[in-house]
Symmetry: C2
Subunit: 285 residues, 2 copies
């Protein structure tokens, strides 16, 4: 296996916001980017805006077998199903990667069924927007974001290095490597739990009349409450055990604060506030 520059032809499967943003950046860097999408209009948009060199709505051996690197930007279950159905079409020696936001349910499933002459190196670009679809593609979302690679013992040093280089050239600020288990635990707390909270806050009240009084704090806590219900419910389900335990941890501490308030126990309230202040300060270093 050789360096990234040899992976001239890159296929992106799924042209939503993330697939489109990958395509935009990789085309701008001079790679020949092809795409598979479900709708011709998606391909037309991507072609017109220079995101891709060519694309197809039908999956054929002739098209897929051209590519050295294949990036899956599909929902978790659709990704696993795609590989099951079409893996015969991959070029021998091809490297696969993904953008999936959960790893335990995806990485072993794909790696165990995969042809031995093809390698899958899983990655999660921790970037996003509150809008969706190829027409919102914007590779600038990578510049302040983390790129997480979750290698396993089925990966080669060369495969991992290739995907590390991919994260670099896409422009991510920070690249980290952790196990699929660590990834799902971390993402359950930092991302899925926070999305749960934002959704719940917005469902508490019909807040239309509250908009004019809303300060920064409520806006900040609910920015991510605009959510793609199909994608996020699938992500939640695919990480259900971890997310449930993160939700329970939150409920336990929330109830602790509630009980302290109910009992007029200001010492406990202040202690929790001082702890939160101390810990939040890590983020501002």
């Amino acid at each position: 296996m050789t360096g990234f520059i040899n992976y001239q032809k890159i296929l992106i499967v799924g042209l939503g916001l993330m697939g489109g943003s990958y395509a935009q950046k990789l085309s701008a860097l001079g790679f020949e980017v092809g795409a598979l999408a479900r709708r011709q209009e998606t391909l037309d948009y991507a072609l017109e805006h220079g995101l891709i060199a060519h694309g197809r709505i039908e999956v054929t051996r002739e098209y897929v077998s051209q590519f050295d690197l294949v990036i899956f930007a599909l929902y978790p279950k659709a990704f696993v199903a795609w590989v099951r159905q079409y893996q015969d079409y991959f070029k021998p020696g091809a490297v696969l990667t993904d953008v999936t936001g959960v790893k335990r349910s995806v990485v072993p499933a794909v790696q165990q069924m995969l042809r031995p002459d093809v390698e899958f190196v899983a990655a999660h670009p921790m970037a996003g927007r509150e809008v969706y679809g190829v027409e919102n593609s914007d590779c600038r979302i990578f510049s302040d974001a983390n790129f997480i690679i979750t290698p396993t013992d089925r990966n080669t040093p060369q495969g991992i290095e290739l995907i590390r280089t991919l994260g670099c050239i896409l422009g991510f600020r920070h690249i980290a490597m952790i196990s699929p288990d660590e990834h799902d635990e971390m993402i359950g707390f930092l991302s899925q739990l926070t999305h749960c909270i934002a959704v719940v806050l917005m469902t508490c009240k019909d807040s239309e009349h509250l908009v004019e009084y809303t300060g920064d704090s409520f806006r900040d806590l609910t920015r991510i409450a605009r959510i793609n219900d199909v994608m996020w419910s699938e992500l939640f389900m695919e990480n259900r055990d971890v997310l449930l335990s993160q939700m329970d941890l939150f409920l336990e501490q929330f109830s602790r604060l509630r009980e302290a308030l109910a009992a007029g126990d200001t010492d406990t309230m202040k202690e929790m506030m001082r702890l939160s202040t101390k810990r939040r300060a890590y983020f501002d270093k």
Copy 2:
């Protein structure tokens, strides 16, 4: 009673972040701003930086009786106690206002004991920073914020108009009038509940090692977790019944989402996500 221009001499009681920011703006506008603070160093800082024209650490009749408008920037209980102790000193016809973040426990208490020749018009500038103290004074925090006046039947149209003008010249984006009850209900949900959530999120885990993976969502939800424990525990206690019911409302909906996830009920999860998406869109109009 005449217009704002006649209220040349303004006293600010309490020179923290909010009192200092009021002082900064009012001095810049040409008013003669005096101050009462607990520590001489606070006054020295405010004098050196042009926030005030003069100030005292001792409360005297001679000093307090000079002022036409008195702005209280104290914690709720300290404000009520101050008025009880020193109200004899006010100039006849003086107008009082405040910055207190809770109203039901403050407004009736002050209005019922107050001399009949002095008027108290309550206000809540919904602005703030995650830092405290006079040295962080910054009147620019008002420009994107709401100024809430909570008039009662003890207020005169002229008194209310004076404080409305104060909110205007301080530079607030939006000025609203609601009752003390409505205020505390609104603030319990929009501000206090969100601060509870941020504090609880930070107390869930020792997240120091998570900092490098933290995306915007966790940062957004915990920005307000840096919190003044003395002030906020007092604000929570002074609005305890309302805040407890807001916390219970949140717990109920949070548990609903948790149960849907545990049961694999993606229909309910999606329904909550679609509702939150729809409601959050009000904020972006």
